[in-house]
């Protein structure tokens, strides 16, 4: 099972902080998982498209769109960071 986490406005708009699911058929990369989630419901679609850039981390590390996912990865979706 892939563990998925959402932060900041992605958490607010999806309404959830984290969930687990088996990688859907045809989803191999972080970007493909994001596209799949964004197509999942109107709420998710809005989370992905209404506000701005969505960044990704896999297993606590910033990654590019095309990184391949393993079956037990932790994948996080979030806006550009604004700490400091």
């Amino acid at each position: 099972m892939v563990r998925i986490r959402y932060f900041a406005w992605l958490r607010h708009k999806t309404g959830i902080g984290s969930e687990e699911l088996a990688l859907p058929d045809g989803v191999r990369t972080a970007r493909q998982l994001g596209d799949w989630l964004a197509a999942r419901s109107p709420g998710f679609h809005e989370a992905w498209t209404s506000t701005g850039v969505v960044r990704m981390a896999v297993n606590h590390e910033h990654v590019e769109d095309d990184v391949e996912l393993g079956p037990d990865d932790e994948v996080a979706f979030f806006p550009p960071v604004t700490g400091g």
């Binding site: 932060f7 606590h60 590390e61 910033h62 996080a76 979030f78 960071v81 700490g83 400091g84």
Partner: protein, 148 residues
Amino acid sequence: MIRVQAEPFDAGAEIEALTHGRTDVGAVVSFQGIVRAEEGGERLTALTLEHYPGMTERELERIEAEARARWPLQASLIVHRYGRMTPGEPIVLVVTVSAHRQAAFDAAAFLMDWLKTQAPFWKLAETSAGAAWVEAKASDDAAAARWQ
């Protein structure tokens, strides 16, 4: 050394702890970020810092290790808070200690620039206009890029 905590910190005590009793230190630079009572032209009443536990510590350690690989530091510290804060409260502290001042200055500026663009923190600002997520600044990306 890195720390992620909800509690405020005492910058003076942190600086003192890093240098106390040492006679090989020539330069100590500190940076403190403080909550300002203004955000996007609105009066800010509170700021809530959300973060990604686990990834936060990993990123801060990675950024600190990068600074120590680039400059001859004798000690370094990053303290970053999360949770709800009001104007005037400290958010982040960076301290760098070196035999020479340029290394201490450059490493502190580098730590802040990278932290701003890499560490998984997000700010929710409460203002008279309501609560809104703070947007990332292009100027922060530009500041981080100069260290590439």
